[in-house]
């Protein structure tokens, strides 16, 4: 029988992320660990190297604005239809953070290579792009399997972050977590050395032995810490639980246009309350 795993607080999870850590985080989709991001900001973590897999949104803009990030690697940071990411934009324009521009499938491929324990992976496309020109850690070789020689192809190195984290729908007492169709979270957990998870609800049973839930479950084998944090993804969405708070995001984008406005947002939202409203 599997051993039970102890629950932690969100502050304890945040404390496991040291200055200078290399993180890889999924995009702001269902199940973004915003409460954990808030705890990290309160803890004052610094000099993070963060890979967004493959793009960033609120999570990136908050960490950048709060001065936690030294280097960001991603294919884009924005709020989609709702607007541009003001702290990201200013930080790149001023040179306050270093950016390693990428393209979505190259990041996915690099994390999958990390999951598979291989040092690199080929990927189609990208040739001719300045994304490639500026990435001296990517290489171009001739496809060794091309019949007549030639056929240049891009190789990207594997990504094996120190830590990944996310907010999941359920966690059970054995430390397993259910992420449903968000398969890329499992890939990240496999590629990362440590995986921290906040969970919306506790699941009374073993997620690994439920015939239907197991397909969307990440085994505790990969999980180094779990905190029970209801509403842990707010103001973003968690499928099946709550929708994104569009007004909150629009207000954020407006307020975070200035350093002062962003500071006021943090004061109110991150420092004023233990958990985001």
């Amino acid at each position: 029988m599997p051993a039970t795993a102890p629950m932690m607080s969100v502050e304890e999870l945040a404390a496991r992320i040291p200055d200078g850590a290399h993180l890889a985080l999924s995009k702001d989709d269902s199940g973004t660990a915003i409460a954990l991001i808030h705890a990290m900001i309160r803890g004052g973590v610094k000099n993070l190297h963060v890979v967004y897999v493959p793009v960033g949104g609120l999570m990136a803009d908050l960490l950048i604005g709060a001065g936690c990030i030294a280097t960001i690697e991603c294919s884009g940071v924005s709020f989609g239809e709702l607007g541009l990411a003001p702290r990201f934009r200013d930080a790149v324009q001023s040179g306050a953070i270093r950016i390693k521009d990428a393209t979505c499938p190259a990041i996915y491929a690099a994390v999958q290579a990390g999951e598979r324990g291989i040092p690199f992976t080929p990927i189609r496309g990208i040739l001719g792009s300045d994304v490639l020109s500026y990435r001296d850690d990517w290489k171009v070789v001739d496809n060794p399997f091309a019949a007549g020689g030639g056929d240049p192809i891009v190789l990207v190195p594997a990504i094996n972050p120190d830590i990944t984290f996310f907010h999941a729908r359920w966690g059970d007492r054995y430390g397993n977590v259910w992420v449903g169709k968000r398969r890329e979270l499992a890939t990240l957990a496999h590629a990362a050395r440590e995986t921290l998870v906040t969970v919306e609800d506790l699941y009374d049973g073993n997620l690994m032995t439920d015939e239907t839930l197991v397909a969307g479950t990440i085994s505790s084998l990969y999980i180094s810490g779990v905190a029970h944090v209801p509403h842990g993804a707010k103001p973003l969405n968690l499928d099946g639980c709550y929708d994104i708070d569009r007004k909150h995001i629009r207000d954020y984008i407006r307020e975070a246009q200035t350093v002062e406005g962003f500071a006021a947002y943090l004061d109110r939202t991150v420092f004023g309350n233990k958990v985001a409203a």
Binding site: F88, R89, T103, G125, I126
Partner: protein, 248 residues
């Protein structure tokens, strides 16, 4: 029947989707999404829209990974790209204006463009703003290259460029755009005055046909309602969809 610019553009795009089955649309693209949903409706589901970011119109369950894998497999027939800058060779720039990396204006980033432009057979460039600021002689940063030298694996690339003023088709052999349609109210000279790159002219350059009335009715009805799940603001403000959700 009177129509808006958005409705016009939806119908222009829809005509380029005839006979195309797997139509994928990126995030933050309500007009291409509306055109894809329109084609699904007109073909009784034969055409399959795959709207990134939608939970209703995303018949895949492995997030962005599966979408890019599909493109790599040759299972995506059409995709849409835009650009902060687009140049006369079809190169697009989604990264910023000025010298990289500390750019004068930083845009969100290249997203999947560097990959999808080479793996998807038909890429439709869509950018409403038609100005010499956007349509430049040479982009400041090539997010994705409009063409590739011989020997580079490439399934397709730019097919057409649609703006609020005109429709250009792309000549893959010459790596140049050709002006084919000018939307009502604009002239070839207007287009030339607002385009920073050199382009060819179709003979003749024609006026863009107006929306087909039956399609217009669908757009304002079923399509707007469907679109509102993903783009509530657009559906409400641009297509007059009134039953929008409270959380807009």
């Amino acid at each position: 029947m009177a129509f808006s610019r958005e409705e016009q553009l939806i119908c222009v795009i829809a005509r380029m989707l005839e006979g195309q089955r797997n139509i994928s649309v990126g995030t933050n693209s309500p007009i291409p999404a509306a055109a894809a949903l329109l084609m699904e409706r007109l073909t009784d589901g034969w055409a399959r829209p795959l709207l990134l970011g939608s939970s209703r119109h995303y018949p895949a369950n492995d997030g962005g990974v599966e979408f890019h894998d599909r493109a790599a497999q040759g299972r995506v027939d059409v995709f849409f790209l835009g650009g902060g800058q687009i140049d006369g060779e079809g190169n697009i720039n989604l990264v910023g204006i000025g010298a990289y990396p500390k750019m004068k204006v930083r845009l969100p980033g290249s997203f999947g463009s560097a990959f999808l432009y080479l793996t998807v057979p038909r890429v439709i460039l869509f950018r409403e703003e038609h100005s010499a600021r956007v349509l430049v002689p040479k982009v400041d940063f090539i997010s994705a290259a409009g063409w590739s030298p011989p020997g580079v694996f490439r399934r397709g690339g730019p097919y057409a460029l649609i703006t609020s003023m005109a429709v250009f088709f792309y000549d893959k052999d010459r790596h140049r755009f050709r002006l084919d349609y000018v939307h009502a109210g604009n002239s070839v000279d207007d287009v030339r005055a607002n385009t920073g790159f050199d382009f060819d002219l179709a003979s003749p350059v024609r006026e863009t046909p107006p929306p087909e009335p039956d399609r217009l009715a669908l757009i304002r009805g079923e399509i707007a309602a469907e679109l509102a799940h993903l783009y509530p603001k657009f559906a409400a403000e641009k297509l007059g969809y009134t039953a929008a959700a409270a959380n807009v």
